[in-house]
């Protein structure tokens, strides 16, 4: 069972999930808990010899009913795959899986915010290499989502719509432009290759998207992740997070996906150090326009 304490100086909740200390950590491939259970082999989390996409309750949850949820989303039964390498139809199916889980979790009274995300690479703390993401059902609206709602109020409307308009007008940082979805390195990026993938129309969540928009979102996300892998000719670590409307009754927010990649070069990481942690101010070594140019080329070549 997780515990929550309110950190007064930061004005934020801290979650203590001490049972996660013993979670599975980078197991050998033949002990991967996300692989199918194959005849004659040790059982895994998934009792089938093959599968397309599977969602299950996390064995080591950060949140659990009746005070939230923690789920694992396994993208494929191919241990060596990746989100970028999924067949397009599988990536599109994943958008619908995310939508189904968003809607089901949103209907629960104990969940105020649904966070869908993927941690890719040991650089961002992944503990299982098998391609997968996670879903947290927060029993409260977390600070980043709250900050976006505050930005809406500050800008006098949907902040994402405003920022998307500015990015399209400039064009300097746009790295992918699809029918229903645009990807760009934001004006004030906090990571060297931070990228936002934004649905053009104002859609608070996956639930309001058309099938064509979900397909465009899948295509844009794969374009970005393939571009990332192309950029430094190596598997590119990232944190990928869907930002959607809170599920506490407010129809606010604008569906978009943010990537926070820690690499600043092929071999060097951007660390959160004194200024970032102690002052809350990010210091950057590269201008967003320059990283956008490199990423745009990588996406085109991928």
């Amino acid at each position: 069972v997780s515990l929550r304490r309110f950190n007064e100086l930061r004005a934020e909740e801290v979650v203590y999930a001490v049972q996660r200390q013993d979670r599975t950590f980078l197991p050998a491939e033949d002990h991967c808990p996300l692989c199918p259970t194959r005849p004659g082999q040790p059982p895994t989390e998934i009792p089938f010899p093959s599968y397309e996409i599977v969602v299950f309750d996390n064995l080591f949850p950060s949140f659990e009913a009746p005070d939230g949820a923690a789920e694992v989303v396994v993208y494929t039964d191919d241990h060596h795959g990746s989100f970028a390498a999924l067949a397009p139809e599988r990536a599109q199916a994943l958008m619908w899986v995310w939508r189904q889980r968003y809607e089901e979790l949103a209907a629960r009274a104990d969940i105020a915010y649904v966070l869908i995300f993927e941690n890719r690479g040991v650089e961002v703390g992944t503990t299982l290499h098998h391609p997968h993401g996670q879903i947290y059902g927060f029993p409260f609206v977390p600070p980043v989502a709250g900050g976006e709602l505050a930005a809406d109020a500050r800008l006098g409307g949907c902040a994402s719509c405003t920022l998307l308009g500015r990015e399209l007008e400039s064009g300097d940082r746009v790295v992918h432009s699809g029918d229903g979805v645009v990807a760009y390195v934001p004006f004030a990026a906090r990571w060297p290759y931070e990228t936002h993938v934004v649905v053009r129309e104002h859609r608070p969540s996956l639930s309001e998207c058309t099938a064509a928009e979900l397909a465009a979102l899948a295509s844009a996300l794969q374009a970005v992740t393939r571009g990332y892998d192309r950029l430094f000719a190596r598997p590119f670590p990232y944190v990928m997070v869907l930002h959607q409307a809170p599920t506490d009754g407010r129809l606010a927010g604008h569906l978009h996906v943010e990537f926070y990649p820690p690499l600043r070069t092929a071999t060097k990481l951007k660390y959160l150090a004194g200024s970032e942690q102690g002052a809350g101010t990010f210091l950057m070594d590269v201008m967003p326009e320059d990283s956008a140019r490199a990423l745009r080329e990588a996406i085109a070549d991928a």
Binding site: R23, P33, P43, I53
Partner: protein, 49 residues
């Protein structure tokens, strides 16, 4: 890890009736330790809601 001994793969656990969600078919089951698991697959007719 894993926490529970799943059923043999040649005998998949009993599930409720498949559900439809957009172009997907869902099969829900409960693992031996009580955790929920959902299998998602694309519907053969590819239908969308």
């Amino acid at each position: 890890m894993p926490s529970s001994p799943p059923l043999p793969p040649d005998r998949p656990p009993a599930t409720e009736e498949p559900e439809r969600f957009g172009p997907l078919v869902l099969r829900r089951l409960v693992k031996d330790d009580g955790r929920a698991l959902i299998l998602f697959s694309r519907a053969e007719d590819g239908g969308e809601r």
